[in-house]
């Protein structure tokens, strides 16, 4: 008698635990949104959503890896993405495909070296070394590019990260219209204004200098309201 009841009792216990687990996984999804979390805290199970920035997956659960507020980004096609919004900007290291702002430090016949100072328009605490190769300056007639006709030391350039490059620098490209020189200074220091996609002019001396100019994007142009 005791043997079989022992088995029934055991079955009952098992059922109860799975139920608890299931509902815990289900409820937990809603109650943690907007909650504050610290690295290592378990947020939800993997079935309910995917892990975004500031979280990581381990043994079927999503854990927080940053200190901040848990938020969810709805995705119609797939599971929502869970991420942690921390007081720091999301980006601290340039990744492939980011749009970076960099300052040209040195140019040679084959490449231009630059300091990456901001990634996806949030500034970096410490600058990273980048390099724009001759064949990555322009997408049209790539081989007839002259570096000194495209960049000058001191120019501020918008570029896209092509690859992690090697130990010394990241590999950047300005081969799209929106990428290229954004702010340049003439010899006497006055900022140049953009004339065309490859020319800039000094408002004071009207001297034309050739640069690989970035096409100003609509949202950046402030049309003077009447």
């Amino acid at each position: 008698m005791s043997r079989c009841s022992f088995k029934a009792w055991d079955l009952l216990m098992l059922l109860f635990v799975t139920l608890l687990l299931f509902c815990f996984a289900f409820i937990s999804m809603e109650h943690i949104l907007g909650q504050k979390c610290i690295p290592g805290e378990r947020l939800t199970s993997v079935e309910s959503c995917r892990s975004g920035t500031g979280t990581y997956q381990r043994q079927g659960y999503i854990f927080a890896s940053l200190t901040g507020v848990v938020c969810k980004e709805e995705k119609e096609t797939d599971l929502p993405i869970l991420y942690v919004a921390s007081r720091h900007k999301a980006q601290s290291v340039p990744e492939v495909g980011n749009i970076v702002t960099c300052k040209i430090t040195q140019i040679s016949s084959r490449f231009a070296k630059c300091q990456i100072t901001a990634v996806n328009n949030c500034s970096l605490a410490h600058a990273f070394r980048g390099m724009i190769r001759k064949e990555d300056v322009r997408s049209t007639e790539r081989d007839k590019v002259e570096i000194f006709k495209s960049f000058h030391p001191g120019d501020i350039v918008l570029a896209k990260v092509l690859s992690l490059g090697d130990a010394q620098w990241y590999l950047l490209t300005t081969a799209e219209n929106e990428l290229g020189v954004v702010v340049a200074q003439s010899e006497n220091g006055t900022p140049l204004t953009a004339l065309s996609h490859n020319e800039m002019q000094c408002p004071v001396t009207h001297v034309k200098e050739s640069r690989k100019v970035a096409r100003p994007q609509k949202e950046h142009i402030g049309f003077p309201e009447r």
Binding site: K36, R58, S65, L66, R87, S92, L164, Q168
Partner: protein
Amino acid sequence: MATDSRRLAVPQSSLDPKSLCPAKVERLLNDEEQRLDGRYSSESRGIYLQCGTVSQAKGSCYCELGNTKVVCSVYGPKDVEHYEDFQMEGKIKCEFKYAPFSCSKHRGHIPDLSEAEISDVILQALTASVRLQCYPKSLIEVFIIVLENDGSAVSASITAASLALADAGIEQYDIVTSASVRVYGNGNFLEDPTSVEEYRPQDFDSESGGDLNHGLVTVALLPTLNQVCAVLSNGHLECDVLVETIQMCTSLAQNLYTAARKCLLSSVKSVDQNNA
């Protein structure tokens, strides 16, 4: 050790008056189980943690464990030196230093052997917790200064370092909390020892049974993942006594988790104010 010419060194032949009459400490634990500072053997000192104390650092943390005061500052992912070779995973550089005025004996300005060893142990503990693959080709620098050393400076520094990394927005699998225990004869375990209670071989004479089962054990732990990421012990311990002490340290470190969590969450709360 190379003396640093820029600073006014203590005159070589000078003598710390305290060392002339070393206070011979007979018993750290009197009969009704109380220690010199009145605590019971299984009672830790109060811990005070405060993030964001160093303004120019990316992240920082100030930790007070009784009179032990530690400041840790983290400088965010920066470009690795040019001569290093390519690494997909980030690199951490950690420097642990006692301030020259922090201990009873004047310490030099250049890190000596024991400080280099502790820096290495803290580095290993932090490497276990930081998600280095999110920071390819970059270097994270952690600087720890002990302002006043009144015992378990190492465990306070490890906890402070991990909180500073979290404060700096560096991705971590889990924060690291650490605790140390002094084994004082068989059966007595003094939690969170002060500097007087730390193990010093010269307090024992070899005739009276030597220093069997005397030693200091420090353990660093990933609390939620329940993984040990640093162990450091000295003194003369039997194997099972050592195992028991390590288990005690892990449970102590586990209790620190709530205090660490409160400190980190307080820095997040300030985020809502300036967002709103």
